[in-house]
Point group: C2
Chain length 202, copies 2
């Protein structure tokens, strides 16, 4: 398999994390989104939406959308929850991540760390994104108050999807001190067998 | 089952559409999000994220996130694609819908139709949201150029998820004239057995 990957991206990191956990071998291809390498004709042929990650399977099929790729890898490696309800709850958290969490927590981090300078529009929008990011992490905090992982008391896909940007939220100016349950969960995820850091390229 | 529902919401409409197609009976509870009825303590106990739709199952379990609810209903009614790859492709389109389509197409429509007046920030942001909405629908147009539905030549969940806001995109100032394949697909979806309109409350 070939992973089209941008190392600082949490969405790409999700895939590296699950592949490492599964012990699957793959080739990594760097796509520098800051140099618009995700908007070349070659890349758009893989994902017309012009976003990383893309995972190209052994038969040449290209899959996009980080959480759909996670699902495929779990589905084909017997890692999905056994019950329809726990599968739906997993997806509930994964859609929450892409709609209510990532556009705030990841975007604040991107603006602050990946760009030489913020635009005027970004500067104006940043405090609101950070606050919505804190709201999303606050919701996670309340959920984790009485359970170790997001679904069914077991480490799973929802944890991987939410871990990717939550553990680096402070890089976007969203401190985690007010969220002790989230911090304890971050430690539990990082202690899972096969864990790799976001900065680790295999 | 009980559907907590806001009639103009495309996200809620997705669930009404699939329930109608499956012929499943349910009770509809109106939640007027403009009156902040989705932020009451009672509603937040069902979905701490304060969003409709929520589907409460017969055992009292509450499920949120429109596309996760669709998945649950399809999973428990033998409507998911047979292959892991087609399941992943279905999710790829559903995550595309929530990340690249809904925040533009649905939000432009919401600003223009559900509010007495736009704020200054919304007025400034509207043209960009409409353009990103056109980009998302343009991507759908190219995909539909040589296939009748989004995944595996069969009507499925990805079609339901994308139909909900695409067919009312003009209400948000995004005209569909430049997208003939999308318009033909809209007609094919509307011709499916059990179809209901967004304005139909059972």
């Amino acid at each position: 398999m070939i992973l089209y990957d941008f190392l600082p991206s949490g969405n790409c990191y999700k895939i590296r994390l699950l592949l490492a956990r599964l012990g699957l071998r793959y080739t990594r291809r760097d796509v520098d989104i800051l140099k618009r390498e995700s908007r070349t004709p070659e890349f758009l042929a893989l994902n017309p939406n012009g976003r990383v990650p893309v995972l190209v399977l052994d038969d040449g099929t290209a899959l996009a959308e980080s959480n759909a790729i996670l699902w495929y890898l779990a589905d084909t490696n017997s890692l999905l929850p056994d019950s329809p309800l726990d599968r739906a709850r997993t997806l509930q958290w994964m859609f929450f991540e892409q709609y209510s969490h990532e556009p705030n927590v990841a975007v604040a981090r991107f603006w602050l760390t990946e760009q030489p300078e913020m635009t005027e529009d970004q500067r104006r929008a940043l405090p609101n994104r950070q606050q919505q990011g804190r709201d999303a992490i606050g919701l996670m905090e309340r959920h984790l108050a009485d359970q170790p992982f997001f679904v069914g008391d077991r480490f799973g896909l929802a944890d991987i999807a939410l871990f990717a940007y939550t553990h680096v939220a402070p890089e976007g100016g969203i401190e985690l001190d007010p969220f002790p349950h989230v911090r304890a969960w971050i430690d539990r995820v990082a202690a899972q067998p096969g864990h790799v850091a976001i900065t680790d390229a295999p």
